[in-house]
Amino acid sequence: MGAQVKEQDMAPLLQVNALTKMYGPRIGCKDVSFDLYPGEVMGIVGESGSGKSTLLNAMAGHHAPDRGEVVFDTRADGPVDTLKMSEPERRMLGRTDWAFVHQHARDGLRMSVSAGGNIGERLMAVGGRHYGEIREQAADWLGRVEISDTRIDDRPSAFSGGMQQRLQIARNLVTGPRLVFMDEPTGGLDVSVQARLLDLLRSLVREMGLSAIIVTHDLAVVRLLADRLMVMKDGHVVESGLTDQVLDDPQHAYTQLLVSSVLQV
């Protein structure tokens, strides 16, 4: 699996050019460039502090990078550098064509609002004003992420960790985004729940033709989900390529270390 069809005339959905974020004199991430094509899933792996999350947040516009471009192929105006967009435009993008899945579901959910309200929020934010339709869509999405629709009026605080994470995914995907940023989506979940979540993510990504950028330190996650892989160390991309190629035949010393560190059960 994994090798996406890259047609000649297909324009990249996201182009990242020389993205740099410094924390004072220290490097967050430096000169990161890549293209992401529609329907493609990019994995970013590396150890803690290697700049994965910094890169993800800089791309998603959560903090301003120091240099570089993040060009997104918008539906209306074609390729636009999102860093030069006005804030209302960027926030609009953030709740329509983009989605962001946090590592901790609590960061991405409104814990005092019911599951249905959580899913409906993005619909209402883009102008949904028909209660019946919003509720119908919320129920539909709960089903898609394998949560019983009898739980639609329960608050996320009454959900297990895995359910909260699935609810967060439903809440993000309800407006049919084209690009999803995921920050350690399976972190903190036990392995069987992780496996089901990965299964779910994989089918959703395939079904909806989503493009995704997944940050993780779990090589199994990228092996399952990602078409391509970038390996980061100390803020730099040290190796990139097709996932299977990088994992099966690592070239850079650090990647070799990373791959060999995985415990084989």
């Binding site: 804030e87 209302p88 926030r91 709740r95 409104r110 609002v113 019911s114 249905g116 309200g117 409906g120 929020e121 993005r122 209402m124 934010a125 883009v126 949904g128 004003r129 028909h130 209660y131 019946g132 919003i134 509720r135 639609i152 009026d153």
Partner: protein, 288 residues
């Protein structure tokens, strides 16, 4: 009287508050920050409304103060006395004779005119506060007109109660721009927000002033399939027989007897003076 500057506040403070009021009128529904002063009453008793009234009053004004519609409850009596002492202005209980009306939680039943100013006491001016605790974020949401969250609250109401259960402080959109908390008035009063009088809102603890100029468009938020409804107790007033006024329910004894009376005492009194009588009007009317 000579111990105080006219209407308690010093002139510089009134000037500062008037600037905030004018800005509020220029941008209807926008919450203008102002340097709220300490007033000789606790927060929550109308410190914001009192400051706005003090900055609005002139010696020729006639002041009316209402608390939940009534002229004779503690809050109304003490604020009215406060201005009698510190401003020496005439006071009245009659809505039609007042030029400045300070109110807590009601809009008078009698229609207000262009010569009148209605001053509201506001506890929490931010309609988004209970959904989004960060002030930086709510300000950004106002400036970018991101009001989806307000509908999340209404969605939650319907999903839990079957209809929009928010019955007071019902959010409104002013002039198609700012979402505003109309202070905790019953939603029965929301349609009256489009009126001829100037409406000023003062929140003392939260240090905000906002305003709705005369004849401004004010729309209550709702869903297409759950439209806004101005509700009241389905009952006529037991004293004056009015079918169109907002009612208070009063429990009479421990045998389950209760009565409904107009919450606007002046309206009820006026109607009874005109000869309208409700179910219990004769026996209890004079005493009430």
């Amino acid at each position: 009287m000579s111990d105080y500057n006219f209407a308690y506040l010093d002139e510089q403070t009134k000037r500062m508050i008037r600037r905030a009021i004018l800005k509020g009128l220029a941008v209807p529904g926008y919450q203008v920050p102002f340097a709220s002063r300490e007033m000789p009453m606790p927060y929550g008793w109308g410190t914001g409304g009192v400051q706005v009234s003090a900055a609005t009053l002139t010696p020729d004004d006639t002041l009316k103060v209402i608390d939940q519609g009534a002229d004779d409850t503690t809050n109304a009596v003490s604020i009215r006395k406060f201005f009698e002492r510190t401003a020496g202005v005439a006071t009245t209980e009659e809505t039609t004779k007042a030029s400045v009306i300070q109110t807590r939680h009601r809009i008078p039943e009698a229609e207000l005119t262009e010569d009148q100013i209605l001053v509201y006491q506001v506890p929490i001016p931010e309609p988004l506060r209970f959904l989004e605790p960060r002030e930086t974020e709510t300000r950004k949401m106002h400036s970018l007109e991101e009001y989806g969250l307000m509908h999340v609250k209404l969605y939650e109401d319907i999903s839990q109660h079957g209809d929009i259960a928010t019955s007071y402080a019902y959010p409104v959109k002013v002039e198609d721009r700012y979402v505003m908390d109309p202070s905790p008035i019953p939603k029965f009063d929301n349609p009256k927000l489009e009126m001829a009088a100037i409406q000023l809102f003062g929140a003392g603890r939260e240090q905000r002033i906002y305003a709705v100029p005369p004849y401004t468009k004010v729309v209550s938020l709702d869903f297409e399939d759950y439209p806004f409804e101005a509700t009241k107790a389905d009952h006529p007033c037991d004293l004056c027989g009015s079918e169109h006024s907002y009612l208070d329910e009063v429990i009479l004894d421990d045998a389950g007897n209760r009565m409904f009376v107009c919450s606007d005492t002046d309206y009820c009194r006026t109607r009874r003076a005109e000869g309208h009588v409700g179910r219990l009007g004769d026996s209890e009317g004079e005493a009430a």
